[in-house]
Symmetry: C2
Subunit: 209 residues, 2 copies
């Protein structure tokens, strides 16, 4: 706050503002954050934020765009990295997604704010990621590695829901009696999820296809 910028660097300034705004918006929500607060946190004047981002909504949009772009790139890379259909692949996919949310709690909160707002700006990208995952599931189904009587999109949705909601409510549930650690929850979920997705014995014999 006391330090002023050594030399004029608009890019760095914008990055500073975006960082502070990300933290504050994620923490308190859009409506509960004031421009003055944002200015103080990022060490610039309120007017400067308006200069770079126009309105408060403009800044909020920029924050969401930047955060989601990072998320999107990371997830897309991981989804496209895998190749051969394999149940182990699904398990790893779930685990990686779970780890990602675990390490990025702010992303969970950001998405939750956006959902409550009815924000649809990231809808196509979101849909694309799920579509990518669903395609993997369908490949595994066609290869006879996963049961085929469930909608692949729902398979992906179930694990996304089970993971993201876990971290969304984690702060409240943390010290509940009977509830385990992140890893224990993940283990139990994977047991249920993977065994529940195992190919069904449709006939009298062991399903070999």
């Amino acid at each position: 706050m006391n330090e002023s910028i050594a030399t004029r660097d608009p890019d760095l300034t914008q990055a500073r503002i975006l960082d502070a705004a990300f933290d504050l918006f994620v923490d308190k929500g859009f409506a509960a954050v004031s421009m003055r607060e944002l200015a103080e946190r990022s060490g610039v004047t309120k007017s400067l934020i308006h200069h770079h981002f126009g309105t408060k909504e403009g800044l909020w949009d920029a924050v969401k765009e930047a955060a989601f772009a990072r998320y999107y790139e990371g997830q897309k890379d991981e989804l496209e990295g895998a190749d051969s259909p394999d149940p182990e692949l699904l398990k790893n996919g779930v685990t990686r997604y779970f780890r990602f949310l675990q390490e990025n709690p702010q992303v969970v909160r950001l998405f939750t704010w956006m959902h409550l707002e009815g924000d649809t700006t990231c809808n196509e990208m979101d849909a694309e990621l799920v579509e990518l995952g669903a395609r993997r599931v369908r490949e595994a189904q066609d290869a006879g590695l996963l049961r085929s009587d469930v909608n692949p999109t729902h398979v992906v949705t179930v694990f996304i829901n089970a993971c993201s909601q876990w971290f969304e409510v984690r702060p409240q549930h943390k010290n509940w009696e009977g509830i385990g650690s992140d890893d224990e929850y993940l283990d139990d979920f994977l047991k249920i999820f993977m065994d529940g997705l195992a190919p069904r014995a449709t006939g009298p014999e062991t399903d070999g296809n």
Copy 2:
């Protein structure tokens, strides 16, 4: 708005204010709602709200308390209504919970706001409900009707998460390609969930090892 109260009825007035506040807070979140807006919506003066509820926070607390009390009573009754341990019971429990959220989308949003706020006022009641459900699961496990190598609390948590997150993001996902209706999602989830919870073949019978 035009109608004024025929005769003074403080209870009715408070109920009116609570109703309007519930709708507005659930819709826009605590910070984004103004006392003037609340007053106009409930057809009373701003001062009158302060008279009955003290502060804006006081009204918010009252709204949350009332809503959660209703939720708590309903859920508790359903959980205590069941008696014999039975896998069908778990399936019915999931279905009933799913239907409840389906019919009460505002409750989903309210809880999400509360989670983001870090609200812990309903934590004990929440924990009690999950504990009740977990006890049912444990009974079924002890009776050999469900696999025993998973934490009963996690079993309950998984289905709560899968259901509530579904409705939390539903407005955004509604017209995604590949995604089905509420009922189709529930069916697919139940397939995975129930089969994933079936007792494992550890013994002499048809064993895959």
